[in-house]
């Protein structure tokens, strides 16, 4: 780890002020950031510890449930309001990481996790995300865990979060605060596709702090599932995952994890299903529609069929 300055922020205002210099970074649960810094994948001059800020509450608010950015993953997963109205979030969180990691990991930090691409983590190898212009080790390398949707020639990394996939299916809204004030970012616009700038994961600006995530009332559901397929039964990242809910209007909503640089909303599948009877055949056809443009590589082409089957299974569970 490079030497850095540690600063514990006592208020949101102080955190934002301290977080402005180039080289400053907010520190939440640290489960990804400290890991990356130990590998020298990330280097920061100053860590602004935000874990003591008063952002660890979940409150009812106009339009939905406002989850504080510092609500721990374990607390969010067992919040009765989440279990009752946004079950898919709880299910997704509990299938990610381990109990002790979920006790540290925060809601805001979870959204900001970086890819677990092996080439990103290995500083001896090229990676356009870590070092723009150095090339991509994964395209022609071991790419079993990599993207099949929305990737570019520059980067085929996937976003590792389970929670974010559930929040994508809910159309959650990310609340942020920065030197210019507050703004909200729909989760659809929060994470980015790699394009020619794979080094930029999200549309959060430097020095902006996530203060909370709004789970909208319109996405409250009683039928929701999170199906995660992985190499071992527990404590592993998704090869493919599917969050599915039936929302308040009776509409089927779907989002995929482990397949793209961002949580992938299955809009084509949703459109296909609109107004059609809920049959296995239609589920399969919806899945085919979603994966029509998918592109596999040497080691991950299996994910295309796996994603289709996982979509069918998730839809079957909620129908």
């Amino acid at each position: 780890m490079n030497p850095f300055e540690y600063k514990r922020a006592g208020s949101v205002g102080e955190a934002i002020r301290e977080g402005q210099p180039v080289g400053a970074k907010f520190l939440g649960g640290g489960t990804n950031l400290i890991d990356l810094m130990k590998y020298d994948v990330e280097e920061h001059d100053k860590l602004v510890d935000v874990t003591r800020l008063p952002l660890a509450k979940t409150t009812e608010s106009e339009g939905g449930l406002m989850v504080g950015a510092l609500v721990k993953n374990s607390d969010l997963a067992q919040d009765p309001r989440v279990l009752g109205r946004y079950g898919v979030v709880s299910k997704a969180i509990l299938q990610g990481a381990s109990p002790q990691l979920r006790n540290l990991a925060t809601t805001g930090g979870n959204l900001l996790q970086r890819t677990r691409c092996y080439y990103f983590y290995d500083t001896a190898l090229p990676c356009n995300k870590r070092e723009p212009g150095s090339g991509c080790g994964a395209v022609g390398g071991f790419n079993r865990i990599h993207a099949i949707l929305g990737q570019s020639d520059q980067c085929i990394a996937t976003h590792p979060s389970d929670m974010a996939v559930a929040m994508r299916v809910l159309d959650a809204v990310v609340m942020v605060e920065g030197p210019k004030g507050k703004r909200s970012i729909p989760i659809a616009d929060f994470h980015r596709l790699p394009g020619d700038t794979p080094q930029i994961d999200t549309n959060l600006q430097h020095g902006e702090l996530i203060t909370g995530v709004m789970l909208p009332s319109a996405a409250a559901h009683t039928k929701g599932t999170y199906v995660k397929v992985r190499d071992r039964q527990s404590y592993a990242f998704a090869l493919v995952s599917v969050a599915a809910i039936v929302d308040a209007t009776g509409k089927f909503r779907l989002a995929l994890g482990g397949v793209a640089h961002k949580p992938w909303r299955a809009e084509k599948a949703e459109a296909y299903l609109a107004g059609k009877p809920m049959t296995k055949e239609n589920f399969r056809a919806a899945a085919e529609a979603e994966l029509a443009d998918a592109k596999g590589y040497e080691h991950n082409a299996f994910k295309i069929e796996l994603a289709k089957r996982t979509i069918v299974r998730a839809l079957t569970e909620v129908s």
């Binding site: 030497p3 520190l27 400290i34 890991d35 860590l47 381990s98 006790n103 540290l104």
Partner: protein, 331 residues
Amino acid sequence: MQPNDLTVGQRAPDFEGRVEGQTTVLAFFPDDWDPARPAQLAAYREALRSLPGGAHLLGVTQDDAWMQLDTAEEGPVRFPLVQDSRLAQAFGVEGKQAVVVVDPEGIVRWAHVGPVGGSPNLEELTASVRRAQSPGLSRRSLLVTAAAAGLALAFLPGKAHAEALGFGGAGVGGAAPKGERTITLNVNGKAMKVAVDPRTTVLDALRERMGLTGTKKGCDHGQCGACTVHINGRRANSCLVLAMQAEGDKITTIEGLAHGDDLHPVQTAFIKHDGFQCGYCTPGQIMSAVACIKEGHTKDDDEIREWMSGNICRCGAYPGILAAVKEAATQ
């Protein structure tokens, strides 16, 4: 006893931690002096390297309970501490930095006493060692005396100290760490002061600075669970939490589970059901299991497996671990 009790050649006051028949080197730490500064630890290491096997190094704190220092780079060299302000009084070194050598017969053989922050003159030090090397001292005492001179070097602050050790003015190990400071960590119900660099994790602070080596370092990246401790009553990977982040938190380690010789029921169950082979993951497994039971995630075998999945056992002792958690959950 009066301060003038500290006279070379005279009988030393009796003290806790003295081993009959062994030479003891006592290092007195005044309250406002931090014995855990890395540069000073390096000096202790130097000194300890030349200590003969039977000599006994003892730290004496005068107020706050300092952590037990583990000055070993290799091998189990320990620096036990006693907290006894009366002892400093008895030796007449209250509020001062001091090093005293007491021989196997309990006779003071060498002493250096200085004010806090003061640095002994190197030439004087050398001279005291020469004086101590007078006939009548056993070979062991002689070696210890020489070692004590090395130990006293630890009192040299900053640049002078580094130069004395032959590291030049740049400090030990290159650039001085940015932002190092002494923090207080609450571990197993005790407030302990420890000097840390911002990069120091809770795991490293426990193991390398506080002598609490029960918590294990496995992967150091949050993937294996060997470093699991409880922070404010909840299990957490101590390898991913900065020590400075944990200031103000209550930390419980494997050392804090048992009550004296009475093992925690989970510890007993692990022994009974052979919940380990090599034992390296065991402290983390046990800390995790205690939390798993407290959380109520022990409904059936599958639930226990899922909620214990953050602790990897390379020996594959999972059946024993499962049985232990199951049994302990019923108690």
